[in-house]
């Protein structure tokens, strides 16, 4: 793995500050009804994409995830302006306004979505890895899911197939402890999610998801295993989301103390403290980074505001690769 240096921490602080700011802005834009549909925010989980992208080969590795997808796609290099435009439903969005918040995609950046059906993306991720194996490309696919998705049958069928065929895939559960409003302990007898992998003899481990270094180290080992044809790994990255499941969540299932406890381990705060403690940056430098994050987010909003909504005919144009498909009663 690349060495984790002062520059890495500065980059992490810069990225994570921007990501947090972006999601906070989405929240306020949702309340202003600029963003509609379902909106799932990533606040608190930022150490995961920071660590994963440090460990990945960013020239060829791939990511697929569920619907909490703005930040993971951004971490893969997708232009945040286009993501914001997608949330607005604008033609300049990542899917030209056809997907919305839950469905960010970028072929160019090897980001395979953005999937709204819980667990539906798990076999897709293994399939993306299947193709890399089929063509001997040496790329690895990181397949992310939440703690709710691990109770879907799709996970179990995919684990079995991926182990049988030794696919170059790393399965990652972002365990933020609540499947919407249902805590892990209420849904299972097996609360250590990583142990699910053990029943398929898949190397599996828990990871501290509040620390980008821990995420990077564990995922690098898993990616390396996948790349050297030794098959999949299952990582349970323990994290926490500060916001509700989605914007409509009044959070009756948890108390404020719990959230405050986790905020003490906040990856951005901890990175900030470390930069100051090691004298790798001073307050004023960090403030500049924070200001720049704010300005970049405003730039995204301006881009989205200034973009057009898609033309009516786009509704038909993107369904089939076939040109002139004879849609029933086309408008």
């Amino acid at each position: 793995m690349k060495k984790i240096t002062k520059d890495t921490y500065v980059q992490w602080f810069t990225d994570m500050s921007f990501w947090r700011r972006f999601e906070d802005k989405c929240r306020s834009l949702y309340l202003k009804q600029k963003i509609r549909g379902f909106l799932h925010l990533y606040n608190g989980e930022e150490a995961i994409p920071a660590g994963l992208t440090h460990a990945m080969d960013m020239s060829k590795d791939r990511i697929i995830t569920a619907y909490r997808c703005h930040i993971l796609s951004m971490a893969m290099g997708v232009d945040p302006k286009k993501i914001m435009a997608e949330l607005f439903g604008k033609v300049t969005g990542t899917s030209h306004g056809m997907g919305g918040s839950m469905h960010i995609f970028s072929k160019e950046h090897r980001f395979y979505g953005g999937h709204g059906i819980v667990g539906g993306q798990i076999p897709l991720g293994a399939g993306v890895a299947f193709a890399d194996n089929y063509f001997n490309r040496g790329a690895v696919t990181l397949t992310l899911m939440g703690d709710g998705a691990v109770r879907q049958g799709s996970l179990h069928e995919t684990f079995n197939l991926a182990m049988t065929w030794k696919l170059p895939v790393v399965f990652i559960c972002e365990n933020n402890q609540y499947a919407m409003g249902t805590s892990v302990e209420r849904t299972t007898n097996l609360q250590d999610i990583y142990k699910i992998g053990l029943s398929y003899d898949m190397p599996s481990a828990p990871v501290d998801g509040m620390d980008p270094v821990k995420v990077a180290e564990a995922s690098y080992e898993a990616i390396d295993r996948a790349r050297s044809s030794k098959g999949p790994t299952f990582l349970e990255i323990k994290t926490y989301r500060y916001r509700g499941h989605s914007m409509s969540d009044a959070e009756p299932y948890r108390n404020k103390d719990e959230i405050e406890q986790y905020k003490k381990q906040d990856p951005i705060l901890k990175t900030r403290d470390l930069l100051l403690k090691n004298q790798w940056a001073d307050e004023s430098q960090l403030s500049i980074i924070e200001e720049q994050a704010k300005e970049r987010v405003e730039e995204c909003v301006r881009f989205a505001e200034d973009s057009d909504f898609p033309p009516l005919e786009q509704m038909y144009d993107l369904v089939y690769e076939q040109k002139n498909y004879p849609f029933w009663g086309r408008i």
Partner: protein, 332 residues
């Protein structure tokens, strides 16, 4: 002596031949499913393919339709052109999420970034006394869903040409066969050919009534038409071959000429393909109809097991003849 231009082949042989011809040309195509490799196919529709292409491209799976369908779709997002076989489409219900939510939606939801060139194929419908869960026809379910194409041939010649087109298609195709057609024989051209998706066929010309059908029950339709021909009643039989997109024009042209229509379909009656065609025909050819359209579907019940009941359940030639005669006002 020159080699023969046609050769008698079974339905199962042309399925294997169509896949093999395409796989020889394009290394990104693979076949995956239960029993497709070492067993040579549960119905021998992939006989010899493991020997020719090896286990990297002809792939046995555990009984995990959800898992391997999703892997198929994912691999199609990354350069493969999979053929996913179901032992029967009755089993596709456990993976319908992957077909409807992923294969059919990916292109639209990604803003056109990923098309999914995949074929899901296998037998559909009933095949004798198999009980209710093994005797279902979901053609109209799949044909209801934008993003998919649905192809259902009724004979080996059509099956070969259409399957090759389905494999070459850049969009996801549901390709439906029948356990009761795999043994059907036909003379097949030895020269390569394809048939277009989205085009219906007039399998028998006639001037008195238009009979529309598709899939294995086309045999019942043709039998009924031949019988009526002996009585001097000339039925035009249309084989839809593709259900999505549906070739309405061929139907409308025929109805405008014949003024009477019956639709025969192996599926439950509610919201069936027959219901859909009835709607479009009354809309586009209302003034040409001399009698109400009649449709023959399965009874509105799951398939029974007992031999007398399943016989009564499946539409037969006599029922079709009677329905046609009623529509023509020959009998009451």
């Amino acid at each position: 002596m020159s080699s023969p231009v046609v050769k008698e082949m079974t339905f199962r042989e042309v399925i294997a031949e169509a896949m093999s011809e395409e796989m020889r040309k394009d290394p990104s195509i693979y076949l995956m499913g239960e029993e497709v490799a070492e067993y040579n196919g549960a119905y021998k529709a992939s006989k010899g393919m493991l020997a020719e292409f090896g286990d990297k491209r002809v792939i046995d799976t555990p009984i995990s339709e959800l898992g391997f369908s999703g892997i198929g779709v994912g691999s199609a997002m990354n350069g493969c052109r999979p053929i996913i076989e179901y032992m029967t489409f009755n089993f596709s219900l456990v993976c319908i999420d992957q077909i409807i939510n992923n294969a059919a939606k990916m292109r639209q939801m990604s803003g056109g970034q990923w098309n999914i060139p995949i074929v899901f194929r296998g037998p559909t419908g009933s095949a004798g006394q198999l009980g209710a869960t093994h005797s279902q026809a979901f053609e109209n379910w799949y044909a209801n869903c934008p993003g998919l194409k649905v192809v259902i041939p009724s004979n080996p010649y059509d099956a070969k040409g259409l399957l090759k087109s389905a494999i070459r298609d850049e969009d996801p195709v549901i390709f439906m066969e029948s356990e009761q057609m795999y043994g059907d024989k036909m003379m097949i051209p030895q020269e390569e050919y394809t048939l277009p998706i989205g085009r219906a066929d007039i399998k028998k010309k006639g001037k008195d009534l238009t009979l529309v059908s598709f899939g294995k029950i086309m045999k019942v339709a043709m039998d009924a038409a031949e019988n009526l021909s002996k009585e001097g009643i000339e039925i035009e039989v249309i084989d839809l071959k593709t259900l999505r997109p549906l070739d309405y024009d061929t139907i409308i042209d025929s109805v405008k000429k014949n003024n009477h229509m019956v639709i025969l379909e192996e599926a439950w009656p509610f919201a069936s393909i027959a219901s859909e065609i009835s709607h479009v025909v009354q809309q586009r050819a209302f003034d040409y109809l001399d009698a109400p359209i009649r449709k023959i579907n399965l009874p509105d019940v799951p398939a029974p097991y007992a031999p007398n009941l399943i016989e009564a359940w499946y539409p037969n030639v006599k029922q079709v003849i009677n329905t046609i005669k009623k529509t023509l006002d020959i009998i009451k």
